[in-house]
């Protein structure tokens, strides 16, 4: 009964989405006020219906109702409650219900937002209604989560054990919040094209949604890579896998959009480009969904065998991207050009920021799709893996990171390059010195890792300089500086924090990839091993039972200079139902490094293969991402007073 309620609610949501996607748009075109006003009500009702559908599916999971095919295939009565709930979106059908729920909630946020003209609101909600209709139809016609089984099985097949993990349990919702949030900026862009008007007000409407999407995407990607780091068992955290790229491309586009929206909001410039970026960012989200959901990545041929789902998403993709880009081609030329700025200015720096981010995004797109396209066109197979991206993508990011300092220092409209450079003179010297010292200190043939550290110092230094200049630190009494800091707009704190996050991230990436220590050996109980100043003693391994798995757990006692530091207990788990094995690395995290221990295969007489890693600055990778996301969240705080 609960499942049927959910199913019915999902069908009603589709009907409501169709209303929301047609009448308000027609009403806005004809000036029909009653039709336009329908949008808000339809959005409210659709949100209520998708909430009911989602709640019904969640309840079925909580009660382990195996008469639902979806629950049977992805859950098990022994599974811990947390993973029963997160299992709702740990599969294709359920994740789509989460997708439409988030979409409906974002539409609700637009519907309840004051200060939007009636026509604009009707158009934005109309476009969101069309997208919702597409995805609801996709869910109902190809991926129905409420399908029944008769007779109901006694127990389920369990969720893939790899998904039974806190990092991965909350990775999809954040990613979806980011993806779907970009649908709102997309809808605003389409509405602006229909109206032929983009101005500062438009940028201010869009900014919170862009910022929120970007913050969620950053968090979601960071959670995913953190999971990969601690779960996959050798300390890697990014693999340039097509599935990762699928989330990275929208992030790059959203980052560019975030910066260009600032220019549009502050200076009424870059309008046409901002609109195009808003369209592209959501298009890349849809493309990512297509790549992952259609199975086309596994192989072109697998896609051809069961194309129903892939073709449906491809249709949504074509309609949304094709429609929006056609509208853009027709309407963009009529947008009134915006404010003037000199090439050397903050606007100029942000244009370059967008140039490098867009080129980077295009490169990732090419690398991701090229093997597929080549296979289709010529039948030749090539692999595009991490070495490719390290050669082509990293060089595009270096100038971007160097630019951060210049961009923050340059004033709007017209900057004096000599003046900007002279303010950065001392910092440049410090950075170059850091490069030299780090290179000498690490005694490495390649100067590149040291350059990464210098780059981090350069960015962090410019953030501190810029902040210091704003609050006139040491140039006026400290009390006065403090007052200035408190009066700074939230956007300013946001910028400083996010860019500081970039600096921390760059240091983490550089140090962890260049200076990792690895020891792979067989250890018998009682064996000692030194690594990076730590001494580990292997005490042996034994079996322990978990709620739905058996584990072999090794114990290592860690000391440094004779002091006891910690005990590390890595596990190898065997999940009973799916007969799958996972490794759980044991990690000792300090501010500056991770000590990372993995238990490998048994090697006879209580001995085990053991993998030990010392990963310097690796916590900074996620610390940096966290700072970036925190910056984004602070930027969302609206000022109570003062001019916009």
């Amino acid at each position: 009964m609960i499942a049927e309620t959910g199913h019915f609610a999902l069908i009603l949501a589709l009907c409501l989405a169709l209303v929301q996607g047609t009448l308000p748009l027609a009403g806005a075109a004809r000036g029909h006020e009653a039709w336009m006003k329908l949008a808000t009500g339809a959005a409210l009702a659709q949100a209520a219906m998708t909430m009911i559908a989602f709640a019904a599916l969640t309840l079925a999971y909580i009660h382990s109702d195996f008469s639902l095919r979806n629950v049977f295939e992805n859950s098990h009565s022994l599974k811990p409650m947390l993973y029963k709930v997160t299992g709702v979106w740990g599969n294709h059908e359920g994740s789509l219900v989460l997708w439409v729920l988030i979409l409906a909630l974002f539409a609700l946020a637009v519907a309840l937002r004051g200060g939007l003209p009636l026509e604009t609101k009707a158009r934005v909600l109309g476009v969101l209604g069309l997208i919702a209709a597409g995805f609801l139809a996709f869910s109902l016609f190809t991926s129905n989560p409420f399908e029944r089984l008769d007779p109901p099985p006694v127990d389920g097949r369990d969720l893939n054990p790899i998904l039974q993990d806190p990092g991965l349990a909350f990775h999809p919702p954040f990613l979806y919040l980011g993806y779907v949030g970009l649908s709102v900026t997309f809808a605003f862009a389409v509405a602006a094209l229909i109206e032929g008007r983009v101005d500062r007000r438009w940028a201010q409407w869009v900014r919170p949604f862009t910022l929120a999407s970007w913050t969620f995407l950053t968090t979601g990607i960071a959670l995913g890579s953190w999971w990969a780091y601690y779960e996959l068992g050798w300390g890697g955290w990014w693999f340039w896998d097509p599935v990762e790229n699928a989330s990275f491309m929208p992030w790059l586009a959203a980052t560019a959009l975030l910066h260009s929206t600032i220019v549009t909001g502050k200076r009424d410039a870059l309008k046409s480009w901002t609109i195009l970026l808003a369209i592209l960012a959501f298009s890349l989200s849809l493309l990512g969904t297509f790549l992952v959901r259609s199975g086309v990545l596994t192989s072109i041929h697998a896609f051809a065998v069961d194309p129903a789902r892939g073709v449906f998403i491809l249709a949504i993709l074509t309609a949304a991207i094709g429609g929006a880009l056609t509208l853009y081609a027709v309407r963009a030329p009529s947008l009134r050009p915006g404010g003037f700025f000199a090439p050397v200015s903050r606007e100029g720096a942000l244009v370059l920021n967008n140039l490098f981010l867009a080129a980077g995004c295009f490169t990732v797109l090419t690398g991701t799709l090229y093997p597929l396209l080549l296979d289709v066109v010529t039948g030749a197979s090539v692999s595009v893996g991490p070495p490719y991206y390290e050669i082509v993508f990293v060089p595009l990011m270096v100038p971007l990171l160097l630019l951060v300092a210049l961009g923050m220092m340059a004033p709007w409209k017209r900057a004096d390059l000599a003046g900007v450079l002279s303010r950065l003179k001392l910092l440049a010297l410090v950075s170059v010195a850091t490069w030299g010292i780090a290179w000498w200190w690490t005694l490495q043939a390649s100067p590149l890792p040291a350059f990464g550290i210098a780059l981090s110092v350069w960015i962090a230094g410019s953030v501190i300089l810029e902040y210091g200049e704003r609050i006139r630190i040491f140039r006026c009494p400290l009390r006065q500086s403090w007052r200035r800091a408190r009066q700074l707009p939230a956007a300013s704190h946001a910028m400083s924090l996010a860019h500081l996050g970039v600096a921390v991230f760059v240091a983490g990436v550089t140090a962890s990839s260049a200076w990792q220590t690895e020891i792979i050996r067989t250890m018998a109980p009682g064996d000692r091993q030194d690594i990076a100043g730590y001494t580990l003693v292997f005490e042996g391994a034994g079996m322990v039972a978990g709620p739905n798995y058996d584990a072999e757990r090794g114990t290592f006692v860690v000391t440094a200079d004779g002091r006891h530091i910690t005990r590390l207990e890595p596990e190898r788990r065997s999940y009973l139902v799916q007969a799958t094995r996972t490794t759980e690395a044991a990690i000792h995290t300090t501010l500056f490094a991770d000590l990372y221990v993995v238990l490998g295969d048994a090697a006879g007489e209580g001995a085990h293969v053991v993998r030990l890693y010392h990963n310097p600055l690796v916590p900074w990778i996620w610390g940096g991402a966290l700072l970036m996301a925190a910056g984004g969240a602070i930027g969302l705080v609206r000022r109570k007073t003062g001019p916009p």
Binding site: N74, N91, H92, N160, I162, L163, L168, P172, G224, A228, L232, G233, W234, F239, D241, V243, E244, A246, S247, W273, G288, V292, G295, T298, S299, P337, F340, F341, P343, G348, V351, L355, F356, A358, A359, G360, F362, T363, T366, G367, Y370, L374, A380, S381, V382, S383, V384, G385, Y388, I391, V392, F393, L396, K413, I520, R581, T582, T583, G600, R611
Partner: protein, 138 residues
């Protein structure tokens, strides 16, 4: 390594099984040679996995390739010769960094093309902006 089967289960992140890679008995006694093998192995694809290098995979085929690679290095092959030996037998598909040839020119050219096209658009827009700016006055 059953990645293809796991893929549909997850939304947007790769789902490899636990990665293991190199086992102690494979490691060469000479650390310099082992380091070379590591660097080369990172650029060779485990053919039965999805997008994993032979260094990261515990698939039997990946292990075989690691062992072959180390044998070639111990036999005195240069880096190029050792990789060529494997490419000859397994094809270009084994290279995670595709070779530059006619049908991959666009792949390798993509970043430059994107940057150049973008720079042209920016230059053009700035020119137009400057002309527009003359009308507005600074």
């Amino acid at each position: 390594m059953l990645r293809p089967l796991l893929l549909p289960g997850l939304l947007l992140l790769a789902l490899p099984g636990p990665l293991h890679g190199v086992e102690p008995d494979e490691i060469l006694a000479d650390p310099a040679m082992e380091a070379r093998a590591r660097d080369l192995g990172r650029e060779l694809r485990c053919l039965v996995c999805q997008n994993q290098s032979i260094e990261d995979s515990d698939a039997p085929l990946a292990r075989d390739l690691r062992v072959i690679l180390r044998q070639r290095i111990e036999a005195g092959d240069s880096d190029e010769a050792a990789v060529d030996w494997i490419v000859e037998r397994y094809g270009d598909y084994v290279l995670l960094k595709p070779p530059l040839r006619g049908d991959t020119a666009m792949l390798w050219g993509a970043p430059l093309v994107a940057l150049a096209a973008g720079a042209l658009v920016v230059a053009f827009a700035l020119r137009r902006n400057r002309h527009a700016g003359k009308g507005d006055g600074p």
